[in-house]
């Protein structure tokens, strides 16, 4: 009854659902059920709570200082309906950050649960481990890594501003897909301050083992940070040409010397 597609062997080139076969115009039963299961799992990932304590321990083990903040969204259901609250610090977090007497730094790193705590749990420590050598090679000073709960990308602007950072990197749990419930996004913003727009950021998405690998993502981010600091801008004016430096698809040992 089912027409199978004779190009099933190509499915190894992509995680996309190709060569599913058909019965008439429609999907075979097994595929309909497989899809339903994936959707159920993605729905569950959206609502999984953020285990900030464990992630904080892993980040500290890499040698970074940390601090914790929360957004103004009091609960997950409110967070989903009110993105404005997820972009703002809670009063208590703001007061705590203001009380710090921080020296200016090159870089602030904010780890935000976004729409997938599962992504933060899985990707944060291995990604930061891959990024750390680039930070050391470039000699960038770094503020304590801020773990932000119920937080969207723009929450980082306020954190970066209060940490007196020249550049802000937000690691955020991306909206779970059916095939990727744990994908990390990286957003770079120069001179972060409240009110920055998305056109003023650069984004590197789909950071996970099956997507953009941690070493490649760390190299790409380091390239962007250095270009942003050199050119004095992020966003649509900063075009990604980092791939030109790859050697057989792998990152070079260092960024080229500035001349």
């Amino acid at each position: 009854m089912i027409d199978r597609d004779p190009w099933q062997s190509f499915a190894r080139y992509t995680p996309a659902r190709i060569a599913l076969g058909r019965t008439g115009a429609s999907l075979p039963t097994a595929e309909v059920l497989r899809f339903s299961l994936a959707h159920a799992q993605a729905r569950d990932a959206v609502h999984m709570p953020f285990d900030a304590a464990t992630v904080e321990g892993e980040i500290r083990a890499l040698g970074f200082d940390t601090l914790r903040v929360e957004s103004a969204a009091p609960a997950r259901d409110v967070y989903l309906r009110r993105p404005d609250l997820g972009r703002r610090l809670s009063d208590e977090s703001r007061a705590r950050l203001s009380a710090r007497d921080a020296a200016p730094v090159d870089l602030a790193l904010v780890v935000a649960d976004g729409l997938s705590a599962a992504a933060i749990h899985a990707q944060t420590a291995p990604f930061l481990a891959a990024l750390k050598p680039w930070i050391e090679k470039e000699g960038w000073s770094v503020a304590p890594v801020a773990l932000a709960a119920q937080a969207r990308v723009a929450l980082g602007d306020e954190v970066g501003e209060r940490l007196k950072a020249r550049a802000l990197v937000v690691l955020v749990g991306e909206r779970p897909g059916l095939s990727s419930p744990d994908s990390l996004g990286l957003y770079l913003t120069l001179n972060p301050h409240v009110g920055r727009s998305d056109a003023e950021r650069n984004c590197i998405s789909n950071v996970r083992a099956e997507g953009l690998s941690h070493p490649l993502a760390a190299f790409k981010l380091a390239w962007h940070i250095r270009e942003a600091l050199r050119l004095g801008l992020t966003g649509v004016g900063l075009k990604d040409e980092s791939d030109l430096l790859l050697i057989d698809g792998s990152p070079p040992a260092a960024l080229p010397d500035l001349t």
Partner: protein, 462 residues
């Protein structure tokens, strides 16, 4: 100007025209988020009743977004065609609904009216319309565009083949292109959302699609959905760009948050036209929109999201696009909460776009944090098929593995053709038959493992 409407002993007051428009809008989470929605069900209907009595021409003298502050408003009002508007200039919004549904409003009459209508007029009347009204009127609108094939003919609907891959891998992208073509999809465009913003990567994707289209002589066009400034840079380097893409919105501020203004869009349009790569026409732009983008950018001016969405179509039509689509459920539950709201918005957007003369397709879609599922998408897809939607998305298994959302699949396209008898763009339909993919009725033939398209993927993988 303030508005008041009495219902029994109660009187409902509305501060101005944009307040009246917002409160007359069918309920949705984005307007609640903005704090501009009706506070009660009765207030919502009172606003509709009040709006029904407002003359259409009021929208020519009262701008919802100030003329001095916003280039989109200036585009709309300066470009308004009073001659085209004349046949309906004496009508109220309520009369206008009756007119649109009447037998007088033929496809020819509606096409002649498009340049005389502003997005605000079209949005206003949509607020008084039920879903069936939105379907019936949209079905009467004809918007035909051409590049290497003919999109939008009556009785047809097209499909964008969307072969996204999480790392833009050539073999992965090629495999999905093959899958889509062998399922009879790809007449609207083969359009990739790149995972990377890297110009060399985008250049490679453009050359890959150009190669497959040329080698197999496919009557279709390609697009990498990257920022218009990147497309311009790539065209300057000699990359084979068919369609120039950009996300757009209904206010100057929201467009700025996308890093564009009307001048930049004009540059993209001029550059694409200069390449002259179309064979049967030169509609060379591809725009995407979606309710809620202006609020998301903090640039909504207190105007409801559906009206602002319609304003984006006024931006689009200036550049004679081949394709425009509303990515209706992509933005998330804070703007369209559940399946019901997504379905309503999809029908509104399609109606508004078509009435304004824009070739509107719909990305029938939802995200995993919205209260919606594939059943809701089946419903919206079927309604849009009945409404004559210009095109839909085709994504393998409905699962976009790069953008992480669910849309419509190659199978869904077969379904809607089967149920409603919809054909593909004629040039593409003929190509499929020539290639032994479909029979003369347009149904898929049993697939062959020896099809030459399979060889293309093997080359890319080698």
């Amino acid at each position: 100007m303030a508005f008041v409407h009495r219902i029994g002993a109660r009187s409902h007051a509305f501060a101005d025209l944009k307040d009246l428009m917002a409160k007359a809008t069918p309920p949705r989470s984005g307007d609640m988020l903005a704090g501009i929605a009706a506070a009660s069900a009765e207030e919502n209907v009172a606003a509709k009743m009040c709006l029904a009595e407002v003359p259409l021409k009021t929208f020519l003298s009262e701008a919802l977004v100030p003329y001095e502050q916003d280039e989109v408003t200036r585009l709309i009002l300066d470009g308004h065609d009073p001659v085209a508007f004349a046949p309906v200039s004496a009508l109220t919004i309520g009369d206008f609904r009756d007119f649109l549904l009447s037998e007088q409003a033929t496809p020819e009459v509606l096409a002649g009216l498009a340049k005389g209508l502003t997005p605000e007029m079209v949005a206003a009347v949509s607020k008084l319309m039920r879903n069936q009204d939105l379907i019936l009127v949209a079905k009467k609108c004809r918007v035909v565009t051409r590049f290497r094939n003919t999109i939008g003919l009556p009785g047809t609907t097209a499909v964008r083949l969307q072969p996204n891959h999480p790392t833009d891998d050539a073999a992965g992208v090629s495999s999905t292109i093959l899958d889509g073509l062998l399922y009879g999809c790809g007449d609207a465009v083969i359009g990739i959302n790149p995972a990377s913003d890297s110009l060399p990567v985008i250049d490679r994707l453009l050359r890959l699609m150009d190669e497959v289209i040329r080698r197999f002589d496919i009557p279709t066009q390609s697009c990498v959905l990257t920022h218009v400034t990147s497309s311009i840079a790539l065209m300057n380097r000699g990359a084979p760009v068919d369609l120039v893409f950009q996300s757009i919105a209904g206010t100057e501020g929201a467009n700025r948050s996308f890093g564009v203004d009307l001048n930049v869009l004009q540059e993209g349009y001029d550059a694409a036209r200069a390449l002259n790569r179309g064979t049967v026409g030169q509609n060379a732009m591809y725009f995407e929109t979606g309710q809620g983008s202006a609020l998301s950018a903090g640039a909504h001016h207190g105007v409801d999201q559906q009206t602002l969405e319609a304003r984006a179509y006024a931006v689009a039509r200036k550049y004679e696009p081949l394709l425009v689509n509303t990515v209706v459920g992509f933005i998330g539950p804070e703007y369209l909460y559940d399946g019901k709201q997504i379905i309503r918005a999809g029908l509104e957007d399609h109606f508004c776009g078509k009435l304004l003369g824009v070739p509107l397709g719909v990305d029938v879609c939802y995200t995993n944090h919205a209260e919606a599922d594939q059943d809701d998408m089946d419903t919206l897809l079927t309604l849009l098929g009945a409404a004559g939607v210009t095109y839909i998305m085709g994504i393998p298994g409905a699962d976009d593995v790069m953008l992480n959302y669910q849309s419509t699949s190659f199978h869904d396209a077969l379904y809607i053709r089967e149920v409603l008898g919809l054909k593909r763009a004629p040039e593409f339909e003929a190509w499929l038959e020539r290639m032994g993919i479909t029979d003369p009725s347009g149904r898929l033939l049993p697939a062959s493992g020896a099809h030459p398209l399979l060889g293309f993927v093997r080359e890319q993988a080698a």
